[in-house]
Symmetry: C2
Amino acid sequence: MKAAGVVVEYNPLHNGHVHHLKETRRITDADVVIAVMSGNFLQRGEPAFIDKWTRTELALTSGADIVLELPYRFAVAQASEFAEGAIGILAAARCSMYCFGSEDGRIEPFLNTLRLLEDEETGYEAEVRRLVKTGISYPSALSQAYRSVAEASADTGPLADLTKPNNILGFHYMKAARSIAPEMTAFTIGRTGTGYHDLVADPDSGIMSATAIREAVRTEGITDGVLRAVPARTASAMDLFREEHSGFGGWDRFWPILRPLIIRDGAGRLRETAEMTEGLEHRIVRAALEASTFTEFMEAVKTKRYTWTRIQRILIHVLCGMDRNDFSRLRHPRYLRLLGMTAAGRTYLNLYKDDFGLPLVSRAASSDDPMLAADIRASDMYAVGIGDRPGKDFRTRPIMTD
Amino acid sequence: MKAAGVVVEYNPLHNGHVHHLKETRRITDADVVIAVMSGNFLQRGEPAFIDKWTRTELALTSGADIVLELPYRFAVAQASEFAEGAIGILAAARCSMYCFGSEDGRIEPFLNTLRLLEDEETGYEAEVRRLVKTGISYPSALSQAYRSVAEASADTGPLADLTKPNNILGFHYMKAARSIAPEMTAFTIGRTGTGYHDLVADPDSGIMSATAIREAVRTEGITDGVLRAVPARTASAMDLFREEHSGFGGWDRFWPILRPLIIRDGAGRLRETAEMTEGLEHRIVRAALEASTFTEFMEAVKTKRYTWTRIQRILIHVLCGMDRNDFSRLRHPRYLRLLGMTAAGRTYLNLYKDDFGLPLVSRAASSDDPMLAADIRASDMYAVGIGDRPGKDFRTRPIMTD
């Protein structure tokens, strides 16, 4: 059986995602589609809108055959590590292909970009370092350095536009695959409709970004526009989640937990948090003492040097107790954590389970593995934040659909 | 000027406390009475019913001339360390006398007890160790061993009854004074009315225990019985506090903060908490994952080996980030933290401030001192728990009354 992989967050799953799953199956001609999906905390440093078990079920009923959890260590990390973890897992699950959505929609510009940055590595990296020293954020430095290098080089062919968020991720998948799994074939499909951050969408298009959907649902509920933009199951899942948890996952729910953690820990302990940068811990403590809402807090912490996303990720690390040492020690995936499967997915797993590159974990039986312990702790913190009962990772079997 | 010291919690201040202050002044013939008072967390491992600034004001209007804060390190500690910290501070503030309330009401039995335990030290300590090994709690072992030693000795004269909570504290004050400040003279007055834990009191007596008052106010509000048992200022302070903080300090308010702290920290970090005993950290984590209320949680944690009080103190240490290393490093008072004074108190402080055994701190200007940092962090956590603005220790000047 041939498997194609996708890397997803589904926060929440919408029509664009369904399209991506269908197209992945069509253009790769795969027998099964394996989705590696973030758990309850996301790459942009946010608690998931709805929990990972609900999102797994939506994935399975929308075209994915197997859902594997992207461990917290990679799910809440910068794009390059996010990509390395995801590609490592897809490769270990014997995917011979993977397919990502991108603004560019073609593979060739990514290949050109990869080649260019490989050829110009030294100059590019020196330029990144120079730019970071001027006080701008790391992502801005990357993109400016890339532009300089691209402008200086003649005749590369079309290059990927690395100011676009999905292109950036796609680039990192391909870069990771080049070293981890060069045998996997990359596919990309063009993203239709809105960009990541667009809050406004053509109400008739049936396409809204996940950000726009969350914003609409939070403020206006499940509007007609939302109903057109998501599968019916997503709509009812959101309805149920709101009913059971008096709202959705988001920083507003986690701020009352985060704030005492920061004040209790103090700068000394915060310094040991993953991704923390020298000095930021003091800003964080001061802001936590002063601010009464999460937005006030973030406005007080923010500086030109750190992106909002980076700061939010650090806060998730504070919340979930991910410290610097564990973060740098845990560089590679250690297991395939099965969240759910269809009948076809089950056949695939039965067929190949002895040949996977990593052990398959169907249910967390203990948290002896430090990477798995971090996943479980993150789930427990999520549960506490949304008013759920912790320990779900131990209690829940993988979801099975037909 | 002659100063007499008292050691207090005032949780909240009631008629029994007023009587104690008046009697202290009368029998010691002191010019000023200095109260060393716990801050926002108490020896039995509980958040204070009302905050330390409010309690300071009540103390000053009820007969104390100077209120010094008993640092967190001693306020939330077992009786012997609580006493050592308090006596150390009173001695440094040049008290030549101190006076405690006790069930016995006379000094002689305490002197007999001290002498007996000094004479029988080896046998007593061996018996304590033997009893602890049988699995009973440390306080039970102390009191059983004391009984054995007392029974075996003839002709000691009357002994203090160390099953009584105020006698126990009194004994520890006198034991501490014997080594820290042998020049201070001890006085004691008999406690009138109810014992510490009695919830029911004669409604006409004007005497209710602090526990009974808190219980009544929480469940029924400021009843006639409460009004008879506390000064008018205490009643109005409780009224105001409830209005401003939608309730009172207590574990019910702090459980929603404590639980995520425990789950986030996990057994590994909890092990480093002050007063934590081997193995208890696992019980605490398991209980936090399972329980949804503080009472459920405590029922799940409790064992015969640890007293309820000891466990609650450990939880306060978790809440306030007091770790094992700091706790054992900070053995002696390092400053006199002034919370408030009357005019007479001010005269006394002006007269002797250069002769005190420790530096006088009128306002926390920084938290460079680790003992003071712990006090400030505890206040900030208290503020977060009761929905107040943190940072009060930096903003508030000592309270002054006529």
